[in-house]
Every structure is written in structure tokens, then in C-alpha cells.
């Protein structure tokens, strides 16, 4: 703690801060551009100038850049000093000489940091009357729009894109007035985090291209806190809506999870909620054709189905806990399936099991960033959990921070820390079948088949703790690599092991768990992260249920009367003939979903479900963190959140006593009561009754426009807006708002004078710290409860991988764009997704024909020499829908066919 004096007022500051942070934390407004809370300071824009005085007797003082000056004990500064003010006014005037002043047509307008800062300096009259330089803009792909004339050369974009996210194809070109931030030539930005440029750039240079197509000003949209539905990380988001359509997704700060950044799958994945693939009517199959029927009729139909024998429910790892629980309650725990086929089912349950039993710490993303040695084993986490990959990249910076500490350079002094730290890289070690997008910052990469990777992992565990089983028959090269990995992990203060379900290998996950446990035995506070396939995989795993294979068996034995599928696409889990067999063996098939899948044709009843943008619920991320999402749009017509359909089913068959839920809170309470593991899910977010001060938090801004005009062709009367179901937020501009609202309820960021997302500074207890109103979600599994002994080491070691003649082991490649179910339905993601190709080593044919599940597929080949012989990668769930686990396939080349 240090005390500094800002304009005569004493303020306590945290140690090691710079003056800009201290001033902002003191609640004083000071404009800035190039400093970013997560990217640190470089002193590029000169906008944050303040007067600093040497002591009480120093009346002249000198101008310093607040962001580049440490806040030392007793520092005396003035923000309001006339000279400092004039300086800041001139800086902004200079920055704006070439700016086109095109706010009215700029997507950033109304939430622009440049607008805010210009107003904050008090500068309002331009004297520059010469010609402005203009730039040609680039087409940067489907996500990001480019308008270079608005640039103020703060360098934030390249600092985020290159330095922070490791992107290579964006750069700063030329110099002085000609500075240009873009690519060497027009083309799609390669980084999967490019969308963050929209928020990182303080001006309208980089804006959201998709949003721009159905643009609305920030103040005209409704907002609601949501949770990303597109991988198991569970990044927090704000979703915006206007006039019934979902407009965009932006980052919602959660200090423990995604903090300031999202991946592009998360930012653009919501497109499925507006897509034509949405199911919006109740359908009943009559003579092979779906007819639209009233909701009530469908429910009564279900009641008659239920008389035809046992009802089995298939839940889903992409549906909320509430929906899964409602289905489980309706059909009974013994008739409830996770919606996952083997091996995904077993692996998902295994992940939950490891989470419960491991002695290691389960890290949040923020914890991952603090780790100082990372071993990624058998999971391409950058593709399966992109935001985790970004955090792992930050972990490699640890050594450069220590180096900065040694040289007394504050960690926020970004350029110096990076420059001095070029050769201080904390080890990231990667053992995967092929190259990954993190290889550029890895000190070691090892490419092998899943079984060999697992063996390598077990060997590492054994080297760390001899009580872990030894691996027989390792090659010398493998032993050396294992030795290097073990050594690096043991040398670390906070080692991290990352693995997951991608390669369909339990042995890999067990090996990762063994390494983490072995490190704990050796007294290292190890962390273990296991990546799962879907947003609520962990929730489903903790709930438990039958595998789809078990359901198939029951159907074969004639034990299924009615099959209810809630938000699951079985064709992604089961090969086509197994889906056929299953559906052929059940008497009735009821589908509840929000988006069309091939299943829809076969469903006797189709009930339209609300996607997460239109409903409230809870999901549990890979770390076991329960997080609440709230509806931003009203469900259209007969559309209902799935658990309400299921509740109505229960009522129709006279089970309403157990499931007489009116609102989300009732379901949450029921889950917490019945299933101990979920006892705390109520703490994920405040209940629907929550009031901030004297009212509900408003989900529209105080200046939302067009409230009556928007339907003036019908009537100019102000229509009462119905309450938003299952949400504590008021659906309109009426309501309360404050910067100390719970983090789980933030509908949009705004603070007086701060219209952009930079106003977040005002919502945090300290910069980069927790939200003032708390609620970062609730961790359901407490590591401290784990009882572990070396008897828990897995002894199930696989054999060495043996390539087979004429066959290859086809491994599921995870694609950031294209593999995940819901985001793949979003037009922007589909546009960004690259065509599916078989990746394999060697100078082979350009096409192969392979036989999978009895069907022959002719597929294009892309050479990838990072793959060992005998292996190939093919994208999971793309053209081969059910393909998601390694499988041996026999190969014929196109030539052989001819």
C-alpha cells in the first residue's frame, strides 16, 4: 500500500501500480488510449499526461505520463492542473488531425473510447484545416471490418494481436502520418482471437462486420449476461438484442474465467439463434408430413404416447442443467441418458471423476495464466477450448515477468518487459499427434499416436514419483523427452497439466491425472485441466446417466416406448445405421430442440426450444464452475425453454406434484435439493427476485430510442412490455443500474462519461480484479475434499502404437470453426470454416477413399508432415457427422480405385 495525493486528496493505492491505474481506481477520470488493463503500458499516445510534483514545496511540477510512472509512496500529482489539461487537449487534437469525424456512420459511435476521451479532455473545436490523409481499407474476412482512416496510432491492435495472442498476419506499417494497421494484403485475419480487436481498438478502425449488417447503436439494444455455449471453457458474454433478433456477442468480464477476451467462435457463434435452421413451430408428423399444431395438442399427444410403454429421455451436453434435470425428473434417473455415445460418454464421466478425486488443483483460466510450466498432453486445447489456449500462451511469459522483477521493471511496463524477456520463456511442452497453433511458443513438441502419447505421459509421472507405474519398452528418444518434461515440471513453482477428451483416450486423461498427482506427491502445487467437448459436458457428467449405447440396447430389447430427445443431435453421436436402428425400435420419438438436425424428419412430435439467448439456465464448465445465463430475447410464439415443455409433459401424465415449477428459480432449487453435487448452484447468480437498490436492473439503457415509434404503424401507444421470463432483469429501460451490480447480472457496461466497454474499470474492485458486485460463478467441486493415495495411480497402460498395413488410424481433428455443433450453424462461422481435408504425412495422393461405418468416402488430402506415419487427422463432426473418436480405416488411393 502506498498513499498518493491526487489534486490534494490522499488516496491509497496498491503496490506496484502505475499512476494511471491508481488514478482510475481512485475514481478520478483521466483519459488514455494506449494503456490497456490486460496489455499494460507503452507510453505511445501521451494522452494520460498529469503533473507530478517533487514535494509539497514544488510548485512548478513536471508533466509525466501517468501510465509510465510508478505510483510511489507520497507521490503528489495533479490531474486538473491547467498545463496538464492543456497538454491532454493538444494531444487529442493532434491525434484527431487525420480523423474523419464520421461518428454518425461509424459502428463505434456511442460506445467509442475516442469519443469518450475527447469529451473528457474538454477539447471540442478543431483547428486543423488541411487535407487529411486517407487510407485504403482491407477485407479482413467475415468477422472484422476495417476503416483505417479512424486510426489514432495507439498500437493497441498489434500489441494484442501479435504480442498477446501470437498472431502473425497483422502489423503496423509505414511511419508518422502514414501509419497503417492491417495485413500485408487483404485477406481473412488468421488469429482465432481477431474479434477482440473490435473491443481492443479504442476507435472505429476494427468493428464487428456481422453486427454491422444488422447494426443498432449500443444504447438502443437490450443486453443480458450470458455464457458462451460453444466449448467447455464457459466464457462470460453479453448478448445484445433489438426487435427480436440477436445482434451481437461481446465480452463480459469475469476475473477468474475469460477476463477481457473471447475467442471468435464464441463471439460469432450466436448466429445460430437467428438462422433459418431455428425451429419455431410445434410440429406433429401426420402421414409422414409435419403439421403445425397448437402446443396443447402436442402435449396431449405426448400423454397418449406415454401410455405406450417406458419413456426414455436423452439429455445433452449443450443443454442447460435445468433442461437435463427436468428430463431426468420426468423419465427417472435410470431412464435418463447423457446424450453421449461411447467413448465420449465414458470420457466425460471420467473427467468428472478425476475432477472429484484428483489431489491437484483445478485452475481457472486466470490461474492458468499464472502457471510457470505447462504440459499439454494429447489435446489441442487451442482448438478445443480456444480461450484456454490463449491463457496457456500467457503462462509462457512467467519467466519474463520474473526477469523484469529482478531488474526492477514493473510488470505493466509492457514493451520493456517483453524486450528484456525475449529469451526468458516459461516452458510450454506439447505432446500431440500433430503440430498445433501453440507450437510457436513451445519449448518442446512431440508428435505421436494417442497410445504412445499416453505412454509418454505415464513415463513422466513415473519419473516424478516412482510409486506411479513404470512404462516398459520406451524408446531411448521417448525416455529423453519424458525426462525433459518431468524435469521442467519439477523445476516449476506452479506446474500445469492439460489434457482432454479430444483423442477419445481414457489413458491420456489418466496419464495427465497421474502426472498432476505425482507432482502433488513431490510437494508441487500442481494444476490439472481437462477439456471436455461441450459447454455443459461437466454438468451432465456430474448429473450422470446412461450412455447412448445403453439406450440403443434398451430399444433393441423393446424396452423403449417413447424416446424424448432434448437438445441433442444423435446423428453427431451415432453412426447413421445405429440412429436408424434406434429410431426404428422405439414406438414414439419426441424431439425438443431449437435448431434443426437430421433427426427432425423422424420425430413424431417436434417442440421448439428456446436457445440460450432466449432462455435462462445454468451450465457447468470444465473446471466445475456453475454459471448462469439469462434471456436477452423473448421466446417467439410457441417457443419455450425445454424444461417448461418437460414440465408440461409431466403435468399431462399426472406427475405435476414433483415438477410443479413456475420459474427458473424453482428448478434451480429443486436441483440443489435433490443432487448434492449441485447444492450450491443457486449461488451462481442472484435469484429472479433480486433487486438492485429499489428495483430490478434494467436491461435497456436509459436512453433507448424508438420504444413507441418501432410499432407506430400499428399504434403509437406505449405498450406494456411483459416481464422477461426467468430473469431478474427488467425487460425495459425502467429499472436501476449501478457499477456495483453483481457481475453475473451485468446487461451492458456504462458509467458516467464512459460509454465504451472501457467503463469496466468502474465496475471492478481494482483494475483486473474481481467485480465490485461479485458473482464469478460457483465452483461445485472442492479439491480439498479429495482423498487420494498412490493406489489411485492408473495402471492401465496402453501398448505401443503399431501402424497397420493398408490402414490408417484416423484421428478427430478439432476445428475452432466448423467442429462445434451450434456455432457451425452460424453463417459467419460457416463462412470462416475451411473445407474438411484429411491431413497426413508424406507425398501421397491428393485424394483418398476410405470406408467408415460401411460407407465409402472420397476425401481430399492435405500433406502434413508433422503427423507420424500410420496416422491421419480428419475434422470431427464436419462432413463425417458422427466421426469424433479415433478409428482404423482401410485406405484406397484414388489411383488404386481407377
Amino acid at each position: 500500500m502506498a498513499t498518493i495525493h491526487i489534486d490534494g486528496e490522499p488516496h491509497e493505492t496498491r503496490d506496484g501500480e502505475n499512476l494511471l491505474q491508481a488514478v482510475l481506481e481512485a475514481g478520478v477520470d483521466l483519459p488514455y488510449f494506449c494503456w490497456h488493463p490486460e496489455l499494460g503500458s507503452v507510453g505511445a499516445c501521451r494522452q494520460c499526461a498529469v503533473k507530478q510534483f517533487n514535494g509539497p514545496d514544488d510548485k512548478r511540477g513536471r508533466i509525466v505520463m501517468a501510465c509510465m510512472t510508478p505510483a510511489t509512496e507520497g507521490a503528489i500529482i495533479s490531474v486538473s492542473d491547467p498545463e496538464a489539461k492543456e497538454f491532454r487537449g493538444e494531444v487529442v487534437e493532434w491525434l484527431m488531425t487525420n480523423h474523419p469525424h464520421d461518428c454518425p456512420v461509424c459502428e463505434e459511435g456511442g460506445e467509442c473510447h475516442l469519443q469518450d476521451m475527447t469529451v473528457m479532455t474538454g477539447h471540442r473545436a478543431r483547428r486543423y484545416r488541411f487535407e487529411k490523409r486517407t487510407h485504403r481499407n482491407q477485407d479482413l474476412g467475415p468477422f472484422v471490418k476495417h476503416e483505417m482512416n479512424r486510426c489514432i496510432s495507439c498500437y493497441r491492435c498489434v500489441r494484442f494481436y501479435r504480442d498477446y495472442a501470437g498472431g502473425q498476419d497483422l502489423a503496423a506499417f509505414a511511419s508518422h502520418n502514414n501509419m497503417y494497421f492491417g495485413r500485408a494484403e487483404s485477406g481473412t485475419l488468421e488469429s482465432p482471437f481477431a474479434g477482440n480487436l473490435i473491443e481492443v481498438c479504442p476507435t472505429g478502425v476494427f468493428t464487428d462486420k456481422q453486427f454491422s449488417k444488422t447494426y443498432s447503436r449500443k444504447w438502443d439494444m437490450r443486453g443480458a449476461p450470458s455464457v458462451c455455449a460453444h466449448c467447455s471453457v464457459g466464457c462470460n458474454t453479453i448478448v445484445n438484442e433489438r426487435a427480436g433478433t440477436v445482434r451481437r456477442t461481446i465480452n463480459r468480464y469475469n476475473d477468474e474465467v475469460n477476463r477481457y477476451f473471447l475467442c471468435d467462435r464464441g463471439r460469432y457463434g450466436h448466429g445460430y439463434a437467428n438462422a433459418d435452421t431455428r425451429i419455431r413451430v410445434v410440429g406433429q408428423l401426420i402421414d409422414g408430413v409435419h403439421h403445425q399444431v397448437p402446443s396443447q395438442a402436442a402435449i396431449s399427444h405426448f400423454a397418449t404416447f406415454a401410455e405406450d410403454g417406458p419413456v426414455i429421455g436423452i439429455g445433452s451436453a449443450r443443454a442447460s442443467l435445468e433442461t437435463n434435470y427436468a428430463l431426468r425428473s420426468l423419465v427417472g434417473a435410470a431412464q435418463f441418458s447423457t446424450g453421449l455415445a461411447e467413448p465420449a460418454h465414458g470420457l466425460t464421466l471420467l473427467a468428472a471423476d478425476i475432477l472429484r478425486t484428483t489431489p491437484a488443483h483445478t485452475p481457472s483460466l486466470h490461474d492458468v495464466e499464472q502457471c510457470d510450466a505447462v504440459f499439454m498432453l494429447g489435446e489441442d486445447a487451442l482448438s478445443t477450448a480456444p480461450r484456454l489456449g490463449l491463457s496457456m500462451r500467457q503462462a509462457t511469459r512467467h519467466a519474463s515477468f520474473l526477469n523484469a522483477d529482478r531488474n526492477r521493471i514493473p510488470r505493466w511496463m509492457d514493451a520493456s518487459v517483453r524486450m528484456m524477456g525475449q529469451d526468458f520463456i516459461s516452458p510450454l511442452m506439447i505432446a500431440t499427434p500433430a503440430a498445433t497453433g501453440l507450437d510457436d511458443c513451445a519449448v518442446l513438441t512431440q508428435h505421436a499416436a494417442p497410445d504412445d502419447l499416453a505412454r509418454l505421459g505415464f513415463a513422466v509421472a513415473h519419473l516424478i514419483d516412482e510409486a506411479a507405474p513404470a512404462v516398459p519398452g520406451l524408446t531411448e528418444a521417448e525416455s529423453t523427452v519424458a525426462g525433459r518434461i518431468a524435469e521442467a515440471l519439477l523445476a516449476a513453482d506452479k506446474p500445469l497439466v492439460v489434457s482432454g477428451t479430444q483423442l477419445g483416450s481414457a489413458a491420456l486423461m489418466q496419464a495427465a491425472a497421474s502426472i498432476a498427482a505425482a507432482l502433488m506427491v513431490r510437494g508441487k502445487p500442481a494444476a490439472l485441466s481437462l477439456v471436455l467437448p461441450d459447454a455443459n459436458s461437466m454438468g451432465v457428467a456430474l448429473m450422470g446417466g446412461l450412455s447412448l449405447d445403453a439406450v440403443c440396447d434398451m430399444a433393441r430389447d423393446g424396452k423403449v416406448g417413447t424416446l424424448i430427445v432434448a437438445e441433442a443431435d444423435l446423428t453427431r453421436q451415432l453412426a447413421p445405421e445405429r440412429v436408424e436402428a434406434l429410431l426404428g425400435q422405439v414406438r414414439h420419438f419426441v424431439l425438443i430442440d431449437h435448431s434443426e438436425s437430421p433427426l427432425i424428419e423422424r420425430a413424431e412430435l417436434v417442440l421448439p426450444a428456446a436457445p440460450i439467448t432466449h432462455s435462462g439456465g445454468t451450465m457447468v464448465n470444465m473446471e466445475g464452475r456453475a454459471q448462469r445465463f439469462l434471456p436477452v430475447a423473448f421466446p417467439e410464439g410457441p417457443v419455450e425453454v425445454s424444461w417448461r415443455w418437460l414440465r408440461d409433459f409431466a403435468e399431462s401424465i399426472g406427475q405435476d406434484d414433483r415438477m410443479a415449477w413456475q420459474t427458473l428459480d424453482d428448478v434451480v432449487a429443486a436441483i440443489a435439493r435433490e443432487l448434492t453435487v449441485f447444492a450450491r448452484i443457486g449461488e451462481a447468480a442472484p435469484s429472479e427476485q433480486y433487486m438492485l437498490e429499489s428495483g430490478h436492473i434494467r436491461s435497456q439503457t436509459a436512453r433507448v430510442s424508438g420504444r413507441t415509434a418501432i410499432r407506430s404503424h400499428i399504434s403509437v401507444r406505449d405498450q406494456p412490455v411483459p416481464p422477461m421470463p426467468d430473469s431478474p432483469l427488467s425487460p425495459t429501460m425502467e429499472g436501476t443500474y449501478s457499477t456495483s451490480m453483481p457481475g453475473a447480472l451485468v446487461p451492458y457496461y456504462h458509467a458516467p462519461g464512459w460509454n465504451s466497454e472501457q467503463s469496466l474499470n468502474r465496475f471492478q474492485q481494482e483494475i483486473g480484479g474481481p467485480m465490485r458486485g461479485g458473482y464469478p460463478g460457483v465452483r461445485l467441486v472442492d479439491a480439498a475434499e479429495a482423498v487420494w493415495s498412490s493406489a489411485h495411480y492408473s495402471t492401465d497402460l496402453p501398448e505401443t502404437f503399431a501402424p497397420r498395413d493398408g490402414s490408417i488410424l484416423l484421428l478427430p481433428e478439432s476445428r475452432i470453426f466448423g467442429s462445434e455443433e451450434l456455432s457451425a450453424l452460424a453463417p459467419a462461422i460457416a463462412e470462416r470454416a475451411e473445407p474438411a481435408v484429411v491431413r497426413m504425412a508424406g507425398d501421397g495422393p491428393s485424394e483418398v477413399t476410405l470406408t467408415l461405418d460401411g460407407i465409402r468416402h472420397r476425401l481430399p488430402v492435405l500433406r502434413d508432415d508433422s503427423l507420424p506415419p500410420g496416422l491421419a487427422f480428419y475434422p470431427a463432426h464436419m462432413t463425417l457427422r458422427a466421426f469424433a473418436a479415433p478409428v482404423w480405416v482401410s485406405l484406397e488411393t484414388a489411383e488404386a480405385l481407377a
Binding site: H135, D169, A172, F173, N178, Y180, G182
Partner: protein, 179 residues
């Protein structure tokens, strides 16, 4: 670079010659001696420009590969420097300082003389390919403002007579410094 409004040029770009093996070897050797491969980037570009007069996209891609850099990264450096040309230039390049001292001391008059005698604007090359005329920032020669650089020769106290003389020399193929 195709994107920044670099000066228009009258010299046709044509197809770039193959990147010569000796240059490639030389750059690879420089890279091997650098602590970080990218450390060789500027010198690699300088040598390439020396050979071909300017840096075309194809050659830039070769250099980027040799220095383990992305094209964007390398081009970011190339476009920063006034003396690295990303468009073809004439046999001679005249760079007249337009920073403050030179501007005060009559740069405009000198510039007008150049434009008039060469029949081109700043940023252009004469149709015969003899001369490219460019502005440049302060040459550190302010005490002899206006100053200019002709190829690698520095000129001070430039006036219209200097312009005439230099243009004559360039037409005859020899330029010598006078500073």
C-alpha cells in the same frame, strides 16, 4: 506495400527476377549468425535492394521465409524506412528534405524547380526511367538547409542552380556529392 498510399511510380514493375542463390545463401548465413533470425531482416532487405533497386513482393516473401517472419512483420519494417523502396524507382533517386528547417530555407522553391525541369511530381519517376523524385524527413543537415540526398550523396545549401547541375549530371550518368 500495396495498401499504404506509397508514392505512385512511373516505372513498370514487370515480373521479378528469381531470387538469386548467392543472395539466399548470404542471408541464410546472416540469419545463422543472429541471436534471433529476424535480426537479419533489415540487412537482408538492404542487400536485396542493392541488387535489384527495389523490393518486390516475391523477394519480400523469400526474405520473410529466410528470417522466419511473416510477410506482414517484414513489410512493417520495410515500410518504416524511407530508404527501402517497395515500388520500382528510376536509375537515380532524388530525396529532398521537406522537414521544418529546409522548408523554412526554401525547399518549396527547390522542389518547384525539380518538378518543372523533370516534368514530374513528387513521388514520380521520369518517363525515361532516369530519375525518381521523393520527399524525405530531416537528414540531420539542417545547418545547410535546404538539404537533399541524391542516391547516396548528401547535398547542402541546395538552390535552383544545384538542381540544374544535378539534373545535368544525372542525365550524363554521374552524380557526386558536394557537402
Amino acid at each position: 506495400m500495396s495498401i499504404v498510399e506509397t508514392p505512385a511510380s512511373g516505372v513498370p514493375a514487370g515480373t521479378p527476377p528469381e531470387f538469386p542463390q548467392d543472395l539466399r545463401d548470404k542471408i541464410a548465413d546472416m540469419v545463422a549468425h543472429e541471436h534471433h533470425a529476424r535480426g537479419a531482416a533489415i540487412e537482408a532487405m538492404r542487400l536485396t535492394q542493392k541488387r535489384f533497386g527495389w523490393l518486390c513482393d516475391a523477394h519480400m516473401r523469400e526474405i520473410a521465409k529466410l528470417c522466419s517472419m511473416s510477410m506482414a512483420d517484414l513489410d512493417g519494417i520495410a515500410t518504416f524506412f524511407n530508404l527501402l523502396f517497395r515500388k520500382p524507382v528510376g536509375e537515380n533517386v532524388v530525396m529532398l528534405c521537406d522537414s521544418v528547417s529546409c522548408w523554412l530555407m526554401g525547399e518549396e522553391k527547390v522542389r518547384a524547380r525539380f518538378c518543372e525541369k523533370l516534368g514530374i511530381k513528387r513521388g514520380q519517376t521520369t518517363p525515361d526511367g532516369k530519375v525518381t523524385f521523393l520527399p524525405i524527413v530531416c537528414l540531420g543537415h539542417c545547418d545547410h538547409a535546404p538539404a537533399m540526398l541524391v542516391n547516396e550523396e548528401l547535398y547542402g545549401n541546395v538552390d535552383t542552380e544545384t538542381v540544374d547541375r544535378v539534373i545535368d549530371q544525372m542525365k550524363n550518368g554521374s552524380v557526386r556529392g558536394e557537402s
